[in-house]
Amino acid sequence: MFDFGRAWNLIADNYQLIIAGIVDTIILAVVGTLVGLILGIFLAYGKNIKFKETDKKIIKVLKGICKGICSIYSTVLRGTPMMVQALIFKYGCQALGVNWGDIRFPNALLDYINGWFIAGLIVITLNTAAYMGEIVRSGLNGVDVGQVEGARSLGMSSARTSLSIILPQALRNALPTIGNELIVNIKDSSVLNVIAVTELYYRMMNIASTTFAFLEAYLILALIYLVLTLIASGVLKLVERKLDGVKFSLNPFRWARKRESF
């Protein structure tokens, strides 16, 4: 049965480990999502390449290769579980002679940042990039063609148009989905325990197996994940409102009110 005393003791004895785990999880999720987003933008443009009739044959072939690589990447990474990807990454690197466990950062700001943590960061970033590619692509395709025509008719180059006009609008439209990806990443970083990344789940599992308070440990763990995701979605909502021009306010009653249009 659930015992409040045991739960309290568990937190009181191990709060440093739990906080370290929370910090790890947040770093994994946030950095993974942001860097994944940047990679995903490249991936989206890669998958969106269009063939023109006037292109030379070599350019067509290069475009085809680029597009093929991007679609294979996103298909494979989205079609396999992240846990398996992490294991393959670990043993693949070992086979190539890179052992992430040997890498240490003696002067790191946080003492538990080690090789495995970096490996986990790479895995979650590469995995997120595949999803972000699709998210950004749907955002890009969702922007009205008229925006391109408007920009081109003023003499803007196509690169300038897509960078300054299309991409910001695409990212704004895709922001809810991007935020969803962040929330998924907060939770899914837990599978990285298979390659010994010391994130929240890994820490809690260790605590549970030393104190034998399994139910309490995992209930607390669930609560912490819930609070983290709630905070993340709240922050995202604020960012969205900020982008839509509503002034920053901590009064929740003001959030519900729409801005008068005139």
């Binding site: 925006q147 408007g150 920009a151 081109r152 003023l154 003499g155 180059s157 300054s164 609008q169 704004r172």
Partner: protein, 340 residues
């Protein structure tokens, strides 16, 4: 020196034998037009007659199939022969017809044997016949008739050699587009900027003006279209008429020599139509060269100095508004304008 020559010549935009195909459908056929400095040309005609496509071809938002376009005496598009001209369409369509017949025939053949086999399973020779028919059908399907087989490549290349095609691109195309700018039916303002930034952005990036200079120019033009007190608004906070006025100001900020209006008032309600038309009239009185695709007959009659009636990709009738609206020579124009 160069400028003087152009002023004497006075022909700002010259269109010669412009044609545009979308696949097989001919949207524009052989259109020629001369636009002089200060002209206000209205293009009228039923929907789907190629008016908008013509306008979009002028600043190469749509690439014409063939024709010659020049701005200020300098050609920026010149394709005299396109690949389609060298396709032997007659034999192509014949071959296609024969091929389809053959396909149906072999498929029928296969089906007949298969049906027979269902009815009578004892006949063993049918099995071989089915195999043969199947192979035959697959063989036919494997070799479809392609357009490129009827394309006369050598004479096409020779024609290209004699008269090389030329399409302006890159920076020069962008420069041209800033001189021949366009106002759209659906406004196409940048949704991620506010009103002022919409007018500033292209100036700083295309004409390389400093921010302050661009801002003062933008404020000048926004004031001219009476939008000076909405400069910090977002685009989705404006009404349709206001959006269109901002779009006109944005086009004016580029110091264009020609403005192309693509049905600027079609998406607006009658009150807003007037406020936009007022702005366009103002521009006309200041001597701006404009080509306006419009369904507003009163506007075409009162403001423009030349009216073009287009249908099916042809210019059916062109002339001064008085001629076109009061004494049209062609039967079709009378029908369109309800003149008995």
């Amino acid at each position: 020196m160069d400028n003087n020559l152009n002023l004497n010549n006075n022909c700002l935009l010259k269109v010669e034998n412009l044609a545009k195909f979308f696949g097989k459908t001919e949207v524009l056929r052989d259109i020629s037009l001369e636009v002089h400095r200060g002209d206000v040309i209205s293009i009228i005609g039923p929907s789907g007659s190629g008016k908008s496509t013509f306008l979009r071809c002028l600043n190469l938002l749509e690439e014409p199939t063939r024709g010659r376009l020049s701005f200020n005496g300098e050609p920026y598009f010149n394709i005299s022969k396109c690949k389609d001209d060298f396709v032997d369409y007659e034999s192509y369509t014949n071959a296609l017809k024969n091929y389809e017949e053959l396909l149906v025939e072999t498929e029928d053949n296969l089906a007949i044997y298969q049906n027979k086999r269902i009815e009578d399973k004892s006949d063993k020779t049918l099995r071989n016949k089915i195999e043969v028919a199947k192979i035959e059908f697959k063989e036919v399907r494997k070799h479809p008739i392609l357009k490129k087989d009827f394309f006369d490549k050598s004479s096409y290349e020779e024609a290209i050699k004699n008269n090389p095609s030329f399409v302006v691109n890159g920076k020069e195309l962008n420069k041209l587009r800033s001189k021949v700018t366009m106002v759209f039916q659906s406004f196409n303002l940048f949704n991620n900027f506010n009103v002022l930034d919409n007018c500033i952005f292209a100036q700083t990036k295309v004409l390389h003006r400093s921010y302050d200079e661009a801002k003062s120019i933008a404020i000048k033009h926004l004031t001219a279209v009476n939008m000076q007190d909405r400069m910090n608004y977002k685009i989705n906070e404006l009404s349709g008429g206001q959006k269109q006025r901002v779009a006109i100001a944005r086009a004016l900020c580029m110091d264009p020599e020609v403005i192309l209006f693509d049905e600027p008032t079609s998406a607006l309600d009658p009150e807003m139509v007037n406020e936009v038309l007022e702005v366009i009239k103002n521009l006309a009185s200041k001597g701006m060269t404009m080509i306006v695709v419009t369904h507003e007959m009163n506007f075409a009659r009162n403001v423009s100095n030349k009216v073009i009636f287009m249908e099916n990709g042809y210019i059916v009738e062109e002339g001064s508004p008085k001629d076109v609206f009061e004494n049209p020579t062609k039967e079709r124009t009378r029908e369109f304008l309800h003149i008995k």
